[in-house]
């Protein structure tokens, strides 16, 4: 199995990455060379093995940790918006979505 230019375009669209033509060609070759070393992994028999999503799972019983549902953070809107590219009246600005 080999990735094609069409696959690269689809993935770039899913990842919201604008790619130049030259970048697309390079990425296609690099990804195919990477998936060459992935083949050995696909051949491993993993029947009956539970996937390990998180290493803590091996160490201790992990229950979903919850804290009391009370507001603990003060309002820091101004501080949090200081690094935003475009803000108006305390709101983040984005290009028009609905005509």
């Amino acid at each position: 199995m080999s990735l094609t230019a069409v696959d690269i375009d689809r993935l770039a669209r899913l990842a919201r990455l604008g790619l130049q033509a030259e970048e697309r060609t390079r990425l296609c070759a690099q990804l195919n060379s990477f998936f060459g070393i992935v083949e050995q992994m696909r051949a491993v028999d993993t029947t009956g093995i539970t996937p390990l999503a998180h290493p803590t799972d091996v160490m201790q019983e992990v229950a979903l940790r919850l804290r009391p549902d009370i507001a603990s953070e003060p309002n820091q809107r101004e501080a949090n918006q200081r690094s935003a590219p475009a803000v108006e009246a305390g709101l983040f600005l984005v290009p028009k979505v609905i005509e």
Partner: protein, 491 residues
């Protein structure tokens, strides 16, 4: 007042802390000395942000606490932070153009904890973009030079941290390790580094790369110094990081002096195969012999899925990265493209301009392995083998107390040496990836020099939560040898 006879940067962190506590030297003098060194050696590219006024203000506050007798454990000790930890008083870029000039509204838990202990921040240290890389060549702000040979890589991704400690621009530095990013640069720069058990230190305020792998740690000149800093930075963080372990903070120095008579050191066959360079093998073998002299016993073990850890890691880490990095959309913080047609175009251009090549590659891999029709074959299969790798370690630890082997197959390569071949970097991570996937603590300890007089590191891997024992094993070696005291000429 008596001044220490050696220069301040020759003192160990422990000695520096003691001199500060005894008021033989002030925190302002110490900070000034290290700031001057950072300036003199700016050409190494280790620091990304230095703010003399902020550092000196922190030092003055430390001096006041020292005078008032309410000093923290590390009061006045200066330290550099990897630029992955967000800081209120310094810019945080994560080595990315995406976060150029970014000022966080808060400090990472690790940064806050160390400040609580009295640490003075010298600045932010260069690293690969979003901690993705093994040579520090993926930083948007230029590579870091290895102080032992400025034409060579310091390793990555914590390259700035390792270079700063090796060049004695800081007595210690924080780092993060996702697949070897503390251990490998420590080995390449001849310093001592520890990545604790996954979950030991809070990830709150650590710019996320791969959340089930990312872990904060420390690089210093000795195991003894690492233990001091690690003790101050670890501990539960229940309100901020639900994946931080629910185990109390501990004093990692408490077993440093223990005997290692009868210690069983597991030596994994797979770490000594054909891919291991002769010079690294010779230095590692000599270190293992030294351990036998110290009373340890070598036990041959097997970690049969060592080679598989490369594809497994490079599926899981990019999958998590592609998800984590979706937050960089040009809306709430960071870079936004100047020209765009609509919202989607704004996202696409912003991300195309803000991310470097390696980050784009990993986002593409991650997007692919998580996409419909490929999730089971790649992502889930990788997670299953990850479980098998973790089980292999538990099997090994039934026969030994710690595992030892090389950190990397070779010494540091020349900058640009892997050219345009990202796969060459991935393959060089082979010995650090298994412990990362299992979430185990690991160290790099300087054990000599290979070709071109470049440092070689010995990797020590312990079972979960065994950091105090690991540091003890490293410390006993450093009591008997002086490789960790060597420093590069002319710096």
């Amino acid at each position: 007042m008596t001044q220490p006879t050696r220069e301040l940067h020759d003192l160990s962190l422990k000695e520096l802390a003691a001199a500060l506590r005894a008021r033989q030297v002030s925190a302002v003098e110490v900070a000034g000395h290290f700031l001057q060194r950072a300036k003199t050696h700016a050409g190494l590219g280790a620091f990304l942000d230095v703010r003399e006024d902020v550092t000196l203000a922190q030092a003055r506050a430390a001096d006041e606490r020292l005078a008032a007798g309410n000093a923290g454990a590390l009061e006045g000790v200066p330290l550099g932070h990897k630029d992955i930890f967000v800081t209120r008083d310094f810019v945080t870029t994560a080595g990315s153009r995406m976060l150029q000039g970014y000022r966080s509204p808060f400090d990472a838990t690790v940064v806050a904890r160390l400040a609580q202990a009295g640490v003075v921040t010298l600045g932010k240290l260069n690293c690969d973009e979003f901690a993705m890389g093994s040579a520090n060549e993926n930083s948007a702000y230029g590579p870091v030079q290895n102080p032992w040979d400025v034409t060579r890589t310091p390793g990555g991704s914590s390259g700035g941290s390792a270079a700063a400690v090796a060049a004695r621009l800081a007595p210690a530095a924080t780092g993060t390790d996702t697949g070897g990013s503390i251990r490998q640069p420590s080995a390449f720069c001849g310093v001592t580094g520890i990545k604790p058990t996954y979950g030991r230190a809070s990830r709150y305020g650590m710019v996320a790369f791969a959340s089930s792998l990312d872990q904060a740690g420390v690089l210093a000149r000795s195991a003894e110094d690492c233990a001091l800093v690690l003790s101050a930075m670890c501990g539960p963080d229940p309100d901020r990081d639900s994946t931080a372990l629910d185990v109390p903070a501990e004093d990692f120095s408490r077993h440093l002096g223990d005997s290692i008579e009868g210690l069983r050191i597991g030596v994994p066959r797979e770490f000594f195969g054909a891919g291991l360079a002769d010079d690294v093998r010779a230095a590692v073998d000599a270190a293992l012999k030294q351990y036998e002299k110290l009373g340890a016993r070598l036990v041959p073990i097997s970690l049969p899925r060592t080679e598989l850890s490369i594809p497994v890691y490079y599926i899981i880490a990019p999958a998590e990265a592609s998800s984590n990095l979706s937050r960089f959309d040009g809306v709430k913080f960071g870079h936004r493209a100047r020209d765009y047609a609509d919202l989607t175009d704004m996202y696409e251009r912003t991300r195309a301009e803000g991310f470097g090549d390696e980050v784009k590659r990993r986002i593409m891999i991650g997007t692919y392995v998580l996409s419909h029709g490929y999730y089971d074959a790649y992502y889930l299969q990788a997670q299953k083998i990850r479980r098998m790798i973790a089980d292999d370690f538990q099997q090994a630890f039934s026969q030994c107390d710690v595992i030892a082997g090389p950190v990397a197959p070779t010494v540091a390569w020349p900058l640009g040496g892997h050219g345009n071949d990202p796969l060459a970097d991935y393959l060089a991570d082979i010995f650090t990836l298994p412990a990362s996937l299992a979430g185990l603590p690991g160290m790099s300890v300087p054990v000599g020099f290979g070709t071109h007089q470049m440092p070689v590191g010995l990797q020590l891997i312990g079972n979960y939560l065994s950091e105090a024992r690991l540091l003890n094993v490293a410390h006993r070696y450093q009591q008997a040898t002086d490789f960790h005291l060597c420093s590069p000429e002319g710096i």
